[in-house]
């Protein structure tokens, strides 16, 4: 019996619900020696900005209890090189991909979205955890008015599936999520990394040595935060929610389905287990076959009902 793993919620159309998260899977085939990239529900590219960005200096990552902190600073090749060098292979490789966009101003997001529209890209994910240069570098995703204006302007130029990726670093994620929906988003994904800091102190030869990394926390440690956010927003939204944060196993995927996620993205776990995304697709399929679920919707219904 063939099981139906597909997700079909408005413009969010996926052959299965397992995606890989932005910044943890490269642009296209970096992980091809570990997984069949075309077998995934989709991949979200590293954030793309208008111009190439060099990223932050020196110490960019460190491990923390149950996770890691990164301050990569959105190092990326820029949209021109992405379109010229990466896109053709994604199309040829039959990979379902979502382009993660990062701008320093609303104009930049709009330009990026236009370029995606011109290149017939099916889906974009707005990374709104970027500092808004105009408003003194407050993140776009922390103010519902700014976010609404950003999303509606992007909506006006982009006809494909428009996903807004929410940051958990806000007072009311519900307000932000509703603003995204009202502005015309087709889906939201949550969460981006949680702001944090790691400082390691060692006392050597009469001196304190300190190693600090300030940035975004990800990995297993953020899963309860992500589940909390998904639970709160999926209750009030009509558009689908994609769950992200600390997913390492099929149980984790089920937990996100249970609180209302329609699909999930695997992030930091790719670093620990580079083959995990495809493994999860196979495990999900195996589970459904073994337990007689014909479709993902049937499984989700049962999960949420009981």
């Amino acid at each position: 019996m063939a099981v139906d793993l597909s997700v079909n919620k408005g413009k969010l159309k996926l052959k299965n619900p397992i995606l890989t998260a932005s910044g943890t899977f490269g642009y296209n085939f970096e992980y091809a020696r570990f997984v069949d990239v075309a077998s995934l529900g989709g991949i979200v590219t590293k954030a793309i900005s208008l111009e190439p960005r060099p990223g932050n200096d020196w110490q960019r990552i460190c491990e923390t209890y149950g996770g890691m902190i990164n301050s990569i600073g959105l190092e990326n090749v820029g949209v021109k090189k992405f379109i010229e060098e990466k896109l053709p292979f994604l199309i040829k490789g039959n990979v379902n991909f979502i382009v993660n966009l990062a701008g320093a101003s609303i104009d930049e997001y709009v330009k990026l979205a236009q370029i995606c529209e011109e290149n017939k890209i099916n889906a974009v994910e707005l990374n709104v955890s970027c500092p808004n240069v105009k408003s003194g570098c407050l993140e776009f995703g922390t103010d519902e008015k700014v976010l609404k204006s950003l999303v509606s302007q992007v909506r006006a130029v982009f006809s494909g599936c428009l996903i807004v990726k929410l940051t958990p670093n806000v007072t009311s994620v519900e307000k932000i999520a509703l603003a995204a929906q009202e502005a015309g988003a087709d889906a939201v994904s949550a969460i981006n990394t949680v702001k944090g800091l790691s400082i390691k102190v060692r006392y050597i030869n009469g001196k304190f040595q300190k190693e600090t990394v300030q940035g975004g926390l990800s990995g297993k440690a953020v899963k309860p935060i992500a589940l909390g956010v998904v639970n709160r927003i999926s209750k009030i939204l009509d558009i689908p929610v994609i769950g992200i944060g600390g997913i390492y196993s099929l149980e984790d995927v089920f937990e996100f389905f249970a609180v209302g996620a329609e699909a999930v993205q695997i992030g930091t776990a790719n670093f620990t287990h580079p083959d995990i995304s495809e493994r999860l697709v196979n495990e999900l399929k195996g589970f459904m076959e073994t337990n007689g679920f014909q479709s993902l919707d049937e499984l989700k219904e049962k999960l949420r009902g009981e």
Partner: protein, 254 residues
């Protein structure tokens, strides 16, 4: 589209593990499938309950058996030190670019502390190819020197074995007496920086194997990026994929 076909994710059985000095351990493991590597390349070992894999230089490869020399630093290497023969580990490799050598050139190899691992492997490969080389190493004290390896010259900071002082004190005189065409080194950042400066003064090319905390170890996350000077401009390079071996004079040293 460049999709490397060589298998990179391996399971391997531990075939040997021993403490080879007061601070260092030597572990050997055999992957199930055929493994190929070059000196300077590394493996990335999964440590249970840790988010990040731990990278280690390959210190030897014989009969599909990989050797790694490591120092106990924190909980990841603590786990490795506790492994037993027959245990299975999960690792990625071989990763990174590795050293390029020319057997017709005289090579001076320098290792400081656990940094001897990749240059020791390099020495074996240069010897197999019949090239002229000399390996000099530095440790803090005699107790740290791994018993399983032999070197052409040893310096210890406290003078308990071989020459007294830092290995850096002897690089200049090695250059004058051995007259190398090229220097390959691995060790702490400051040691590599100094060796590069000395090499530049003598117009000798120098290659260094760098270390940086890694997350993906395959060039994706951009977590291990350093800066290089190339044709007058500054460019980013990942230690895991573009390195870990770089031309010393191209590194923008911190």
């Amino acid at each position: 589209m460049v999709v490397p076909k060589q298998k990179k994710l391996h399971k391997a059985k531990i075939t040997e593990i021993s403490q080879v000095s007061k601070t260092l351990y030597y572990i050997k493991f055999k992957p199930e499938s055929l493994f190929e590597s070059k000196p300077g390349q590394f493996v990335s070992i999964l440590c249970p309950n840790h988010t990040l894999r731990r990278p280690f230089s390959i210190a030897s490869l014989e009969n599909n058996e990989i050797g790694v020399l490591f120092k106990k630093k924190g909980s990841g290497t603590e786990y490795m030190a506790g492994l037993k023969i027959g245990d299975t580990i999960d690792f990625l490799g071989a990763l990174g670019n590795g050293f390029k050598f020319d057997k017709d050139k005289k090579s001076l190899l320098i290792g400081a502390g656990v940094g001897v691992a990749p240059v020791y492997y390099l020495k074996k490969e240069i010897e197999k190819a019949g090239g002229d080389n000399r390996l000099i190493v530095g440790f803090m004290t005699k107790d740290e020197v791994p018993s399983c390896m032999s070197f052409d010259e040893i310096a210890t900071n406290d003078g308990s074995l071989g020459l007294k002082g830092s290995i850096l004190d002897y690089v200049e005189q090695e250059i004058i007496s051995y007259k190398p065409d090229v220097i390959y080194s691995c060790g702490p950042h400051i040691v590599l920086k100094t060796i590069t400066e000395i090499a530049q003064r003598h117009s000798i090319s120098s290659f260094v194997a760098l270390e940086k905390v890694m997350a993906c170890s395959i060039g994706v996350c951009r977590g291990c990026v350093i800066k290089l000077k190339k044709n007058g401009t500054t460019v980013n390079a990942s230690v895991c994929q573009d390195g870990p071996v770089f031309r010393g004079d191209e590194v923008l040293w911190q």
